[in-house]
C-alpha cells in the first residue's frame, strides 16, 4: 500500500460496501420485493430476491477489502 502513513483506500471501499451491502441484504430479507428472472437454459421463470443475494455479494466484497486493509496495516506496523 501507499506511503506508510497514508489512508489505505481499502478502508473506505471496504466499509462502504459492507455497510451498503449489509443494509440492502437485510432490507431484502424483510421486504417482499422480488425480481423477475428467467434462467438461460430453461423455459420457466423465477422470482429472485435481488436485494438479499446481491446485498450479500457486496457485503462479501466489502469484507474482503477490509481484511486486506487490516493485513496491510499489520504488516506496515511490523516493518
Amino acid at each position: 500500500m501507499s506511503a506508510e502513513s497514508e489512508l489505505d483506500i481499502r478502508w473506505p471501499i471496504g466499509l462502504l460496501f459492507s455497510l451498503m451491502g449489509g443494509m440492502v441484504a437485510i432490507y431484502g430479507l424483510l421486504s417482499s420485493d422480488r425480481t423477475f428472472y428467467r434462467p438461460l437454459d430453461t423455459a420457466d421463470t423465477r422470482m429472485i430476491n435481488l436485494n438479499l443475494s446481491w446485498g450479500l455479494v457486496m457485503l462479501a466484497f466489502g469484507a474482503l477489502m477490509v481484511l486486506g486493509a487490516v493485513r496491510a496495516g499489520r504488516k506496515a506496523a511490523r516493518d
Binding site: 497514508e6 471501499i13 460496501f17 440492502v24
Partner: protein, 550 residues
C-alpha cells in the same frame, strides 16, 4: 420510478463516505505537490483504476448503453479500437517523457519541449474545455435525475457541486483519485446485476442475436463499406479516425487522464497505470453496451418512445425500472451519482492544476512560496466549481451556445496528438513549428467542417456552412474524417515549419525526446512485472476480443 427511504439512505451513506475521505486526506495535503500530484506516491493499481474511471462518467455509462441499443456491438469499437491501443502506447512510449521530465502537467511538458506560447495555447484551451465539460455534465445529469425521479435541477446541481467542492478542496487530487476508484467499484456492482438479468431474459447471447437487427452482434462484419452498417463508416475511417487520431488524441494528451499517471509513485508505476486500467476497460462493453442491446431485444417499440420518437437514452432507465427493487435501485442510482460527481471532481482537479502551474505561476505570479500556490489551488477549486455551475446554467438556457463551443473545442483537440508525436519522437521539431501546426490543424478542422455535410443534415452547425463540396454517409464518418484531416494538416505543417526554423540544441532536449532519453531500466523486475509484458498481454486479449466478436 420512485424512491423508498432505503434508497435515500444508501445515497446518504455514499455522500457521507465521500466527505469523510476528503476530511481524512486533508492532513496529508502539506505541499502543492501533495495537492496537485498526490505527492507522486500512489500505487499503480489505484492510479490505473482512476485512469479509466475519470473517463467513465455517468453520461458515458448512459450514452454507451444507448449506443448499444442503437448500433449494437459496433459500439465496442470505442473500447477495443478507440481506447486500448492508445492506452498501451501512452504507457509504453509516452510515460517516460511525461513522468521522466518531471513536468507537473501536460501543458508544462509542452513548455519544456517547445516553448511558452505552445504551452499557453494548450493550457488556456484545456482550462476552458474542462470547465465547459464539467458544466455540461452537471446540466445533463441534473436533467436525467429530473426526468427519472422528478428531482429539482437546481437542487441536484447545487448539492452535488457542494459535495464535490468539499472533498476536492480538502483532499486535492488524492481525494479525486480515491473517489474515482470508489466510483469504479460502485459502477461495477451497481450495473452488473442489470447486465446479467437482462441478457439472460433476452435469451443469452445467441437468443439475443436472433431478436436483434441483423449484424447487431458483430463489430467488424459490416465495416467493409459505409453502407453496410448503421454507423455509416468504413474500416479505414474507423481505424484511422477513431482508432488513431481521436483515441490517441484523448488518451495520450488529455491532462484529465494523464494526471492520474503522473501521480504514480515511480516511473514503472506511471507506465503501468494505463496498462492496468486497460484490463477492466476491455470488459466494460459487457457491462454497459451489452445490456443496452439486451434492452432493445426485450422492450417493445412503444417503451422507447419520447414525444413520438425513439429515444435510445432510455436504455438504462428502462432496465433500472424493470429489474431493481427499492434497495438495489438506491445502489444503481448511487453508482450514477458517484460517476457524475467523480467526473466533475476529475475536471476540477485537472483545472486547478493547469490554472495554478501553467497560467498563474508562469504568467501572473512566478516565484511565490509553495504555500502560496497551495492556497491558489484551493481558491482555483472553488472558482472552478462556481464556473462549472455557471456553465451548467448557460447550457440550461442556451443549448446552442454549448453546441458551438463544443464544436470549436473539437477543432482545437483534433490536431493535438500530431504535436505530441513529433515532439516526443522527432528531435528536429521546433516551438514555432508546433505552435503554427496546432493553429493550422485547428483551422483545417474548421475548414473541413465548413465544406462537408453528412447525409440528412442541413448546412449550419452540423457542417457545410461555407459550401458543402462533399457529403458523408453519417455524422460519425464526418467526425472521424474531420479528425484525420486536422491531424494531417498539423503533422505536415509542423514538419515544414520546423525544417525552416532553428532547432533547440540537443543538450536541452534530454529526457524530452525519445532518441535523447535514457530508457527506463527493467532489469531488476521479474518478467511478469515489466510494463512491456503487461502491454503484450493486454494487446493479445484485445485482439482476441476483436476476433471473437468480429
Amino acid at each position: 420510478m420512485s424512491l423508498h427511504w432505503i434508497d435515500y439512505v444508501v445515497i446518504a451513506i455514499y455522500s457521507a463516505f465521500v466527505l469523510g475521505v476528503g476530511v481524512a486526506l486533508k492532513r496529508y495535503m502539506r505541499t502543492s505537490t501533495d495537492f496537485f500530484l498526490s505527492g507522486r506516491r500512489i500505487p499503480a493499481w489505484i492510479t490505473g483504476l482512476a485512469f479509466i474511471s475519470a473517463n467513465l462518467g455517468a453520461l458515458e455509462v448512459m450514452g454507451m448503453a444507448a449506443s448499444g441499443a442503437k448500433y449494437g456491438m459496433l459500439t465496442a469499437h470505442f473500447y477495443w479500437v478507440g481506447a486500448i491501443p492508445a492506452m498501451i502506447f501512452v504507457g509504453l512510449f509516452m510515460m517516460p517523457f511525461y513522468y521522466g521530465s518531471r513536468a507537473r502537467s501536460v501543458p508544462e511538458y509542452l513548455r519544456l519541449r517547445f516553448d511558452e506560447k505552445t504551452r499557453t495555447l494548450n493550457a488556456v484551451t484545456f482550462a476552458f474545455m474542462t470547465i465547459l465539460a464539467s458544466g455540461i455534465n452537471m446540466y445533463a445529469m441534473a436533467l436525467v435525475f429530473k426526468l427519472m425521479l422528478g428531482w429539482s435541477m437546481h437542487a441536484t446541481i447545487i448539492l452535488s457541486a457542494m459535495v464535490v467542492l468539499a472533498y476536492t478542496a480538502l483532499g486535492g487530487l488524492t481525494s479525486s483519485i480515491y473517489n474515482e476508484v470508489l466510483q469504479f467499484f460502485l459502477i461495477v456492482f451497481g450495473i452488473l446485476p442489470l447486465a446479467i438479468l437482462s441478457v439472460s431474459e433476452a435469451g443469452g447471447w445467441s437468443g439475443m442475436a436472433t431478436r436483434l437487427p441483423p449484424g447487431f452482434v458483430h463489430t467488424w462484419k459490416g465495416l467493409g463499406s459505409a453502407q453496410n452498417n448503421p454507423m455509416g463508416i468504413e474500416w479505414f475511417g474507423m481505424l484511422m479516425g477513431l482508432g488513431f487520431v481521436l483515441s490517441f488524441g484523448y488518451w495520450c494528451t488529455d491532462f484529465l487522464v494523464v494526471q492520474r499517471a503522473m501521480a504514480a509513485k515511480d516511473m514503472i508505476a506511471a507506465q503501468r497505470t494505463p496498462l492496468i486500467g486497460a484490463i477492466p476497460k476491455m470488459f466494460i462493453p459487457f457491462l454497459i453496451i451489452v445490456p443496452g442491446m439486451a434492452a432493445l431485444a426485450i422492450f417493445p417499440r412503444e417503451a422507447w418512445l419520447t414525444d413520438g420518437a425513439v429515444n435510445y437514452n432510455l436504455a438504462l432507465p428502462l432496465l433500472l425500472a424493470r429489474y431493481y427493487p427499492a434497495g438495489m435501485l438506491g445502489v444503481g442510482l448511487t453508482a450514477l451519482l458517484a460517476s457524475f460527481m467523480s467526473g466533475m471532481a476529475g475536471n476540477v482537479t485537472a483545472f486547478n492544476t493547469v490554472w495554478t502551474y501553467d497560467l498563474y505561476q508562469s504568467h501572473i505570479r512566478p516565484n511565490a512560496s509553495d504555500h502560496h500556490y497551495l492556497q491558489m489551488g484551493r481558491i482555483a477549486t472553488v472558482v472552478g466549481i462556481l464556473a462549472s455551475i455557471g456553465a451548467a446554467y448557460v447550457a440550461m438556457s442556451f443549448e446552442n451556445v454549448m453546441d458551438y463551443l463544443q464544436l470549436i473545442f473539437s477543432f482545437v483537440n483534433a490536431p493535438l496528438f500530431a504535436t505530441f508525436l513529433l515532439g516526443m519522437f522527432w528531435k528536429r521539431a521546433t516551438g514555432h513549428g508546433a505552435f503554427i501546426g496546432l493553429l493550422g490543424g485547428t483551422l483545417g478542422a474548421a475548414l473541413h467542417h465548413g465544406l462537408v455535410l453528412a447525409a440528412n443534415n442541413t448546412p449550419g452547425i452540423k457542417g457545410g456552412w461555407i459550401t458543402a463540396v462533399h457529403h458523408y454517409p453519417s455524422d460519425m464518418a464526418q467526425n472521424f474524417w474531420g479528425a484525420i484531416f486536422a491531424w494531417t494538416t498539423c503533422f505536415v505543417l509542423t514538419i515544414v515549419i520546423s525544417l525552416v526554423t532553428r532547432p533547440r540544441p540537443e543538450s536541452e532536449l534530454h529526457g524530452l525526446v525519445y532518441t535523447l532519453t535514457d530508457k527506463p531500466s527493467y532489469g531488476h523486475l521479474a518478467l511478469l512485472r515489466r510494463p512491456a509484458t503487461l502491454a503484450v498481454i493486454v494487446g493479445i486479449i484485445t485482439l482476441a476480443l476483436n476476433w471473437i466478436y468480429r
